[in-house]
């Protein structure tokens, strides 16, 4: 296995094109444990962290641009970003310890393809886009379209994510992410729920509800979104959100949670995240 550290997107592109079987990485916090547990070593390991564009967080022209290899600590410590997207910041901030946060990236969290990836539901709820470099140019796709199943993505072997784009949140918009784990820190989500709401006074005018860890990929819950839009978040609405979230679950049964448990908790978290998102939409983060 060879290690390579390109300093430009073009250099990384040619490395991938010239060396089939190579693999990009950022923090290696998923990659190294997987290699240790017997995953085959790639021919060439392409370290993305020396490419400045992939290590930057910036704001301009009505959107945020987040380099795909940027340590999540840099995002969660960015006050302006966390103020506009507290839910994305909450999700990214739950990834592991400080040691992990100084390495873990949004690109790795997404492309590792874990259904439990904590930053993903809130990114999807914010309609975030991934800018992907391939051998013959770049293409931009919705984050929701990147992961196709556990450990599977829609990226070709020679493609990688350069950066994420997130449009500024409209006025009176708030988001929130909640996860359930058996401990208080350092564990993998049993259920994750992201909700983003835009309000006009007491009335919800726009809603996104996305669940993690309850299906092969993060899932949107259109029935919960439909129940929210036009409502004032009364008890009947919240009950409908819960029921829709539980109905959207297609979880695994494992030592962290049974199917019944995950399904019920998804309903509870979706409802609670909606209440927090509404409060943030009305009163700020």
């Amino acid at each position: 296995m060879k290690y390579a550290a390109p300093t430009t997107v073009d250099e990384a592109r040619s490395l991938l094109a010239d060396n089939p079987g190579s693999r990009v990485f950022a923090g290696a916090t998923d990659l190294i444990p997987q290699m240790r547990s017997g995953r085959p070593e790639p021919a060439v390991l392409v370290d993305l962290k020396r490419i400045d564009q992939l290590m930057a967080v910036s704001h301009g022209e009505g959107k945020w641009t987040i380099g795909a290899a940027t340590p999540t600590a840099d995002l969660t410590r960015n006050g302006a970003f966390s103020g506009m997207f507290p839910g994305i910041s909450e999700g990214a901030g739950l990834i592991g310890s400080d040691q992990i946060q100084n390495r873990s990236s949004l690109g790795g969290n997404l492309c590792n393809g874990s259904p439990a990836a904590d930053s993903v539901p809130a990114l999807i709820a914010a309609d975030a886009r991934a800018v992907i470099a391939s051998s013959d140019g770049t293409r931009t796709v919705a984050v929701a379209e990147v992961v196709t199943g556990p450990g599977q993505t829609s990226l070709a072997d020679d493609e990688f994510i350069v950066e994420f784009e997130i449009d500024d949140a409209p006025a009176n918009t708030g988001d929130a992410y909640l996860r359930m784990i058996p401990r208080t820190e350092m564990d993998i989500a049993v259920v994750g729920a992201a909700v983003r709401l835009t309000m006009d006074g007491d009335t919800v005018t726009d809603a996104s509800v996305v669940l993690g860890a309850v299906a092969p990929t993060a899932v949107r819950v259109p029935d919960a979104e439909a129940a929210l839009v036009g409502s004032r978040l009364d008890d009947d609405t919240l009950a409908a959100v819960s029921a829709a979230a539980s109905a959207a679950c297609n979880p695994i049964d494992d030592k962290r949670g049974t199917i019944e448990y995950r399904t019920q908790v998804a309903g509870v978290l979706a409802k609670r995240a909606a209440v927090i998102a509404a409060d943030r939409a009305q009163n700020g983060a």
Binding site: M1, K2, Y3, A5, G27, A28, T29, I32, P33, R36, E41, L45, D47, K49, P71, A73, G96, S97, D98, Q99, I100, N102, R103, E185, M186
Partner: protein, 169 residues
């Protein structure tokens, strides 16, 4: 294959890494698949960083890379090129222990000591960024470090005491 030949093949595929460790310029040879932890211990001869798990869970291998706490078991050795690395060996100032080292000793915040280098560096990173952390902030800040012997209360108290001393200094 004779051992000699194997060795020379190994040598051929080795990478030369230049970096700064505890303030000194260091260069070492490594294979690309070697972790920074193994390179520090086996090539550089700094055995302060320990391997507890090799998967990012225990924090015994923690080092500072450009001032930020990271698990050296989750870093490929060639990534260190040009970086500034601090290991526990770099915490004392000559004969003078760092206040954290002193309060860990005085407060008996260690037993077997395997976790201690990682705790010391994680606590240093925490206090460098937040000189007056609350107990909760310390507990979360050290959540990436596991100790199987001491119990965490003595460790937390040692960090609190060092924070007070550092502020007075």
């Amino acid at each position: 294959m004779s051992l000699g030949k194997e060795m020379s093949l190994k040598k051929m595929s080795r990478t030369h890494v230049n970096c700064t460790i505890n303030g000194d310029e260091v260069d070492f040879l490594t294979t690309d698949a070697t972790s920074l932890l193994d390179a520090l211990r086996d090539e550089v001869g700094l055995t302060g960083a320990k391997e507890g798990c090799g998967t990012g869970d225990c924090g015994a291998c923690s080092v500072l890379v450009d001032g930020r706490i990271q698990c050296s078991c989750l870093i490929f050795a060639p990534e260190a090129e040009g970086r500034h690395i601090t290991t526990v060996e770099g915490m004392a100032d000559g004969e003078h222990l760092h206040p954290l080292q002193q309060t860990f000793l005085e407060g008996a915040a260690l037993q077997c000591g395997i976790c201690t280098p990682g705790f010391l560096l994680a606590a240093k990173a925490l206090l460098d960024e937040n000189p007056a952390p609350t107990e909760t902030e310390i507990r979360y800040g050290l959540a990436g470090n596991l100790c199987r012997c001491t119990g965490y209360d003595k460790i937390i108290r040692a960090v609190q005491e060092a924070a007070v001393q550092l502020k007075g200094a």
